[in-house]
Symmetry: C2
């Protein structure tokens, strides 16, 4: 029987203020919870149905996470989504540790990405292409928002965020580095050669692009060539296309 305090705690964690106060966040859905169990996140508890327990016996007996069995109806209306999910977990937020570039590494930097679905999609794309660090401006939506976690499809376990003032970050750690930014009217992505030394790829806000201050640190403006009528691309899709071209260049 799920206690009232637990329900209250989970509901509180839908709110950024309480996620920060408690240093914890919600993970919903079997696939994401399984990825969480196999990651190095600290799990406070998992609420799961018998069905979930049986389906994932091997993984659960290997990792023995703290699991409370609940009835299928207990989870109804508790999570953020109206899907019939068989489990929900609460895990500890990771420390917001400074992330620096290793030689040859590419890091993604996000200037004020507001939509949780977009941030989740970007995390998933980064993970697909083996990018492990994302520097987020302070106004970028919260990494541990349940919608971000859900949209990342488990990739939040393999990519690390660092929230900071992007302008200051590049001022301190960007000197001499390649800092490419997505702009309308920059060099064609197709003719662009990403340096072997690695660097940063900066994506800007959904409506306003990269801010004026952060733009001062951009060393190369990059544009995705357009051949049709659409005015713009969604930022998750634009990120995917730029990173794909980057990795393609490194492979060929």
């Amino acid at each position: 029987m799920l206690s009232k305090n637990r329900i209250k705690y989970i509901n509180a964690l839908k709110n950024k203020k309480f996620r920060q106060a408690y240093g914890a966040f919600i993970v919903e859905g079997a696939k994401s919870v399984i990825e969480l169990i196999q990651s190095d996140f600290t799990i406070e508890f998992i609420l799961a149905t018998d069905e979930f327990r049986q389906k994932y016996t091997t993984i659960l007996s290997e990792h023995t996470p703290p699991l409370e069995t609940v009835g299928p109806k207990d989870l109804e209306g508790i999570g953020s989504f109206q899907t019939n999910d068989s489990c929900l977990a609460v895990a500890k937020v990771k420390n917001n540790d400074l992330l620096l570039k290793s030689p040859g590494e590419y890091i993604l930097a996000l200037d004020d990405i507001r939509d949780p679905g977009n941030l989740g999609a970007i995390i998933r794309v980064a993970d697909w292409y083996g990018i492990h660090k994302i520097i987020c401006s302070k106004d970028t939506t919260d990494w541990y928002n349940p919608k971000v976690v859900a949209a990342s499809k488990g990739s939040f376990t393999r990519v690390l965020p660092y929230y900071t003032d992007l302008y200051q970050y590049f001022g301190e750690y960007g000197s001499g580095e390649f800092i490419g930014g997505a702009f309308l009217g920059g060099s064609s992505l197709y003719e662009f050669e990403f340096p072997k030394a690695g660097g940063f790829v900066v994506m800007g806000n959904e409506s306003n692009g990269i801010g004026e201050m952060v733009s001062k640190h951009i060393t190369h403006q990059i544009t995705i060539p357009r051949m049709g009528g659409a005015e713009s691309l969604n930022v998750g899709i634009a990120t995917a296309i730029i990173i794909d071209n980057l990795r393609r260049g490194q492979r060929l």
Copy 2:
């Protein structure tokens, strides 16, 4: 003063059955309505606030669409979305005319894309890269669903759909043509050369990929190289990456 019949009609058009019965669909939001006005769609009516009228005087006087001025509160709760939009239009659905490939042309084919957000994103990507025709399997979500229209960000005015049985379509019109399909475990997209003669790019269902029957017509299986941990990519993002590589190859 907005009539009750009009409100009833708009509400009915949120439902696919009534969109098909009336041959009409809803377009919401100033940007999308402006693109609609500049397109060759037949507009039944536009409901717009004074603010909208004043902001777009030039375009409105050029095109003189049938416009009813409403109070800002009249539109509240009428559309599908809870945004404070200043206008909503109802336009005639276009005939589902057979679409065939021209020499050198690339056409997108969708096998059972279910999520309206994904379909809208795919239409926007097609438009960005100058792809004007999309062949949709009968199970693909309805092109004129308000969520699809909204996610396409006006690109629905520049890309044409044709709903049909994909297996039969390729049987009749695909013979001798390049028909590339996105698969896990196909040839690397980076080493792949798309033929100059054009052809079809087929994207499959979000969970199950391209169906067994349609797969029989696929002449080339293509895979987006993965370098990290994510299991899969969203179908809108995968479409963008494949089309980007196709266009890049044609440009270089």
